[in-house]
Symmetry: C2
Amino acid sequence: MATDATQTAAYEELLDRYERISNIEGAAGILNWDQEVMMPEGGTPARSAQLSALSATSHELLTEEAMGDALDAAESAELTDEKAAAVREIRRQYERATRVPTELVEDISRTTSEALPVWKEAKAEDDFSKFAPILEKLIDLKRDYAEQIDPDRPAYEVLFEDYEPYLGLDTAERILERLREELVPLIDAVGESDVELASPFAGEFDPDIQEALTRDALDTLGYDWDRGRLDTAPHPFSMGTTFDARVTTRYEDDDLLGALTSTIHEFGHATYTQGLPDEEYGSPLGENRNLSVHESQSRFWENHVGRSEPFWSLFLPHVRERFPELDGVTPRDAYEAANRVYDDNPIRIEADELTYHMHIVLRFEIERELIEGDLDVVEVPQVWNDKMEEYLGVRPDTDAEGCLQDIHWSHGSFGYFPTYSLGSVLAAQLYASADEEIDDLDGQIEAGEFGPLHEWLTENVHQHGKRYTTPDLIEEATGEAFTADYFLDYASEKYGALYDL
Amino acid sequence: MATDATQTAAYEELLDRYERISNIEGAAGILNWDQEVMMPEGGTPARSAQLSALSATSHELLTEEAMGDALDAAESAELTDEKAAAVREIRRQYERATRVPTELVEDISRTTSEALPVWKEAKAEDDFSKFAPILEKLIDLKRDYAEQIDPDRPAYEVLFEDYEPYLGLDTAERILERLREELVPLIDAVGESDVELASPFAGEFDPDIQEALTRDALDTLGYDWDRGRLDTAPHPFSMGTTFDARVTTRYEDDDLLGALTSTIHEFGHATYTQGLPDEEYGSPLGENRNLSVHESQSRFWENHVGRSEPFWSLFLPHVRERFPELDGVTPRDAYEAANRVYDDNPIRIEADELTYHMHIVLRFEIERELIEGDLDVVEVPQVWNDKMEEYLGVRPDTDAEGCLQDIHWSHGSFGYFPTYSLGSVLAAQLYASADEEIDDLDGQIEAGEFGPLHEWLTENVHQHGKRYTTPDLIEEATGEAFTADYFLDYASEKYGALYDL
């Protein structure tokens, strides 16, 4: 009995320490959201300092000796599988963190906070040279960071594991390569097809009414407003905790579908967060597995639900009610519009399901070379545009539409992009399982019955938090190892039918 | 030279430590703002935990041994007056904090975070019994807190010093007593006056247009939007740093003046924050002196500017432009409306300049008795209503309009209310000095030239941060000790003229 109590105490002590860190990081999440959505421009110096203080504090709490002792004590206790998994995750973070000096952590935090407005300005003025110096500084800092963690492995491999710790960069490469091999001919075939898909959403759409329609979409899909909110941000994102998972989007007058699909995407992220177990709040068992799995949830809703024919049968009446000028549009028209392949589009977040992966391959190649020192920052615009031409046959007119389009590098996020494609691939694998296990999934979607689908995802993905590693989670949820088969089958079947290939 | 360097190093080390704490508290400020203005209802458990973690962390950082050592080292160095003042302020906080156990700090933070939605619900449902248990818990916690700091002095005196550390509770009492003695007959005389002031703002006013007008007011007065923003909150407040000082307000359909005066009040607070020296960000020299001085700035703008005749000559055209139905209103009408005395109003934040102080006296008496254990929580509604009847001749119909009207106690803020009256009194003393030193201040206000006034306040109050104690700051700014004379002269002169006394 005494031993049991001691063992529980060791675990509880570790979890208490971790919960403090987790809450400090949650606070930083709110500060980041505020910075993107609410903060006046002049607020940057204070915000940088605040984020830097939180980041340094959580780093210190994670790396202090007492944390190492608490980990050792918990690891030598006999624990349930669940608790052992929580300890495994804390150990992983501890090991990575103890190798990085607090000073470097603070420096990265301060620099990314400063980089954000610089990137915004550079993008607004289409002037890459304004962003280049701070980008170079961020690359140096992140390279240093990777070297501190593991000097014996390529820096990019180490950075990638911040976002996807268990699949391995080799798996990511293999999947990306397979996508390129099989999607490039498919995209070519689409480009050569004579089929012209419907394009019924041309025109100007009042952003306020778009917002109302976006709220309709979130209502329809079952967003829990009591634990979330919708706002606008220049680069849509979602963030939060199981109790407060927020969504942002943006509205363009001439792009009705853009706001809808982007919001459904962020909704997918938010449902994952809202679906994490309340009772594990503050523990790794209450945290999302990692970015690939997170992205699988957003792609699941964006692509497999939000771009499906049953969804458009369900949702089109809302669109026609908000915009009576679209009264003649049919569900089939909307479905076609939501699935048009744009092989001449330079913007990642406006890309369709197929060409999207070429945008990722390009970024993956460039950022890896930047981190490994094989490419200079000044060369980025040229290389970006060359690759874009090579993969998609389009050359961006401006850097704002080219290498300045994404926020990620200003966050210091190198190794993040591949998780988008991995997420898409996983979404297809999960959807295939859900479709097998849920009776008449298409019919349920068309009827607006999303309960069973939310339940399936919560039960098979969300509620596990970080209990399983990524490969184990995929195996548990789908009965199979991670594979691109389902995505490629889905893509060739869907686009084959749409474009009469 | 070596000694100089060592002394500078000791001071810098102390300041670095303090800056971390200050930034963590700034982060908590954003989380509090978000909770009031943005957070979905379900977010409470996570927000409570986050605020509690920040509060415990800043408490630990302030009380750790290394902080005591850094203070000792800095104190034994030879410092400029400014630096010595910064050290004095950190010492004061350190001494107060080291006496309070972290557990108690966490408990208070968690309880206040939980109390907020409880208070909101109790107020909405007009049910004091819902709020009573958590109020009782907060009183116990704050009494415990005061006892930890100084078991030999009355708890309320100790708590008061959290908000106004240097004037002393005896000064507060003396001022409040004098206000009661001299204002009660003045309020009575007003009540008996036959003069009927103009009341031209009756009607319904669209909240969206009120918001536009409120923004006009902030533009007119010179709010720095690059370092601030305006939102709505159930109980208006302002918060932030010199780089990001936000204002909140609220709109009632039938109360056009309410939103304007409340916003000008919060604007006054925000100008103080925006006027703190940028270069001292994170140091006590970059922080507001304390609540009495803060309140002097809000009252300065709300009463001495916003309720003045020159201001209404300047601003009325904006009102008439936003609300064309008010086309016949004259500046004199508006001035009279802004200065009506409502001796039958039970709501503090809707009170005029005279009766306001009776609302404060009432709260001061009740909260002191609550903290000193001379009054039970369950008795609050009865005592509140009895006192209201005694001082103002009005009995609130509901607790929502009585003892549940203010947010302060749900924040655990006992000893805060007196600073409102002290602030009013100080505002009058400051205004008298500014009026003497600025050429034709009335004329400048009427012309919308607020530059010289902002400069005077920045130079004499804002830029000093916490360099001077409250009494010294008042002496520096006005050449005199703190006195109620100016306020009482101003009140009897203004209201004597308005009501023909």
